[in-house]
């Protein structure tokens, strides 16, 4: 039976693990601590993240660093228009058996890893993008009628370039909704750039030491779910999500004017789960409304479908979420 002391010990391990990973990633990836925090939160909540940024800002490096810092299986899928679903999920291949006969055997694809990097996912065709759907949601893959489970922990980190839209297939809303967070990698400021130059152009390359295995990540994921959230705080999260819907009575003016569809219940799930992880990091065993505020932007940004007016007037999803946060008061 778990005791309070055991819970406190696990929480301390969680904080150590989180901060250790952050330190390891920081050896390679310079700056943007909030981005790293959100990526790790997403990972410990066993969610998937869509990482958006212009080319060369370190999107792939960030995910690669995370996998290197963990003793986990890592797979990278470079998405191109000719990438087939079977290239992602795997397929049955004809193999020679020990008895000399031939039989079909399942050959797992790169999706069967603990950390999957889907690089430039918007370059894959919708058919291939759909291949990620079941894996991301159900943590399993069905090939030729047979379902294959994916080992936990499992997270897909997809990257996309927001500028170059030629020859791309924007992700459909259904798939966007499956991403726990959408993170934006900004262009580094001059100090960070200087640090990056020093590290990448010198003789010595920074090395990441793997620190934790899959077991500890799984147990910490269970601990996150034990964190409590009181009804008033829960309702605050739900009010935030409801306020992104233009037909909701409590929706801000900007939402009624510029939003076509609001966030789904998955947004609330993502907010609450990540807020629980944040609470643990803060040494608490309960969620506070401030935790929800801190994770609202990455959880809601990609789940808000803007309308034509918003695009014409260049009203961003971030601005809409900020307005929702500003108007959502505590009851």
């Amino acid at each position: 039976m778990t005791t309070a002391a055991a819970v406190e010990a696990q929480a301390a391990t969680f904080r150590d693990c989180f901060n250790g990973l952050k330190t390891e990633i920081g050896r390679v990836f310079v700056g943007q601590p909030a981005l790293v925090d959100h990526l790790l939160l997403c990972f410990f909540c066993q969610g998937h993240a869509l990482i958006e940024g212009v080319p060369g800002v370190g999107k792939t490096l960030l995910v690669r660093s995370l996998s290197d810092a963990l003793n986990l299986r890592f797979a990278r899928i470079q998405c191109t228009p000719d990438l087939m679903p079977a290239d992602v999920t795997g397929t049955n291949v004809l193999v020679d058996t020990t008895g000399g006969s031939r039989a079909f055997a399942f050959q797992p694809g790169p999706i069967f890893a603990n950390v999957v990097l889907a690089d430039e996912i918007n370059r894959a065709t919708p058919r291939t993008q759909a291949a990620f759907l079941e894996a991301m949601q159900e943590h399993r893959v069905t090939v030729f009628g047979t379902t294959h489970r994916i080992e936990e922990p499992f997270s897909v980190f997809a990257t996309q370039n927001p500028i170059e839209m030629e020859g791309t297939y924007p992700l459909p809303e259904a798939q966007l909704d499956r991403f726990f967070f959408k993170l934006t990698v900004h262009v580094p400021d001059i100090d960070d750039l200087a640090e990056i130059m020093m590290r990448t152009t010198g003789a010595q390359q920074a090395q990441i030491t793997p620190r934790f295995g899959a077991d500890i990540v799984r147990s910490l994921g269970g601990l996150v779910k034990q964190v409590k959230i009181a009804d008033p705080v829960l309702r605050f999260a739900l009010r935030l999500v409801r306020a992104t819907h233009p037909e909701d009575a409590g929706a801000p003016h900007i939402v009624r004017q510029h939003v076509r569809y609001g966030a789904s219940p998955r947004a609330a799930q993502a907010m609450i789960l990540s807020a629980k992880a944040l609470a643990l990091l803060a040494g608490r065993y309960h969620v506070a409304t401030d935790d929800l505020r801190r994770v609202a932007r990455p959880a809601l940004n990609h789940r808000i479908v803007r309308n034509f007016h918003a695009e014409m007037e260049r009203v961003t999803a971030e601005a809409i979420v900020d307005a929702v946060l500003a108007e959502a008061g505590d009851e």
């Binding site: 309070a4 034990q226 409590k228 009181a230 608490r284 065993y285 309960h286 506070a288 401030d290």
Partner: protein, 365 residues
């Protein structure tokens, strides 16, 4: 003691304090409301000073009881917990502990234990009485008091009330000894004193005074004239007002040619002299019951003298020689006709009705 019980006990300390603070806050507001309610009652029903005091005391007591009850009901544990989280910056710890205190799992126990440790402070320092929040309530109390004082002075000033009591008693005694009236002057005086419906009572008392003691009536008539000058839209006591009204509505509102002629003659010298003359002639001050919204003086209405020696309808009891019952019926019919033609408020109609009920002949009782 289990952590959950200890936590609730700690929280209950703050809850008691919150109830006290909220009771004080609501009490201030309830007193303001009580005064406003009393003001409304005074405006609508014109009660006497004693009745006003009863209204005020009752409203305040009811308000205070309601304030305490409301504070008791609203300051629940949940509200207390939420307030403490905000005041102490506990990041919703107390709210969570309150909700999960009976779960019994290690995480809930940790939350409850920590929340209990956070609630060791002094409740009075965390939940002080907040005067700034009651500012508006204090302002409304002050406003209500001012309003109360003003409206108390508008229709009936205290001096006139005191005089009314004195003169009504005196005239009742005189009338009882003289035995000149069929109805008891003392009873009327007592009724006036108890009802303290200022205009009517004062008129009657003035009329009685005028019949018995012209000197005392002169004083009263002067006071009445002063009141009328101050309150031109309500009851006009001036005999000149009656004359003006009657001359303006000569066709419909003349009670008798003789009475009118006497009134007009008597009122030619304006209110003071007219009142004195009226007292000497056995005629009291005329009373105008004008249409609402009218200027009293110009508006149509019923005008009759309301002295104790002169019957309604302007017919002199001693001069006409007719029976009282006949004069009563004539006057009552005329009053009813006049009231029916004018837009007289229901409350004023009731006054007229009450008046005729009070002076009805013995045969009609």
């Amino acid at each position: 003691m289990p952590p959950a019980d200890l936590f609730v006990r700690q929280l209950a300390r703050f809850q008691r304090r919150l109830r006290l603070v909220m009771s004080a806050e609501y009490a201030v507001k309830s007193i303001a409301v009580a005064i406003a309610v009393t003001d409304a009652l005074v405006l609508t029903s014109a009660p006497g000073t004693r009745l006003t005091a009863v209204y005020l005391a009752g409203s305040v007591v009811v308000g205070l009881v309601a304030a305490v009850a409301l504070a008791w009901r609203r300051a629940g544990l949940s509200r207390t917990a939420a307030l403490l989280d905000r005041r102490l910056g506990l990041d919703d710890q107390v709210v969570t502990a309150l909700q999960f205190r009976t779960d019994g799992d290690p995480v809930a126990d940790l939350i409850v234990t920590r929340a209990t440790e956070s609630l060791v402070g002094n409740p009075s320092s965390v939940l002080p009485f907040e005067s700034p929040r009651a500012r508006w309530a204090l302002a409304s109390v002050a406003g209500a008091i001012v309003f109360f004082v003003v409206i108390e002075r508008l229709p009936v000033d205290s001096e006139a009330l005191a005089q009314l009591d004195w003169s009504a008693k005196a005239s009742a005694e005189r009338d009882a000894s003289a035995n000149t009236h069929r109805w008891s002057a003392k009873a009327l005086a007592e009724r006036d004193a108890s009802n303290v419906i200022a205009p009517r009572s004062t008129a009657k008392a003035s009329a009685e005074r005028a019949s018995a003691n012209p000197d005392s009536y002169r004083w009263s008539a002067k006071a009445s004239a002063e009141r009328e000058n101050a309150n031109a839209d309500s009851y006009r006591w001036s005999a000149k007002a009656s004359a003006d009204r009657e001359s303006a509505n000569a066709d419909s509102y003349r009670w008798s040619a003789k009475a009118s002629a006497e009134r007009e003659r008597a009122n030619a010298n304006r209110a003071g002299n007219g009142a004195r003359d009226a007292g000497r002639d056995g005629r009291g001050t005329g009373r105008g019951n004008g249409a609402p919204g009218g200027s009293g003086r110009e508006s149509g209405g019923v005008a009759w003298s309301s002295t104790t020696t002169k019957e309604p309808g302007g017919v002199d009891a001693h001069d006409s020689g007719g029976s009282y019952a006949e004069r009563y019926r004539t006057a009552k019919a005329a009053a009813e006709a006049a009231v029916a033609q004018d837009r007289v408020p229901a409350r004023h109609r009731a006054l007229i009705h009450d008046y005729f009920q009070a002076i009805r002949p013995r045969a009609d009782r």
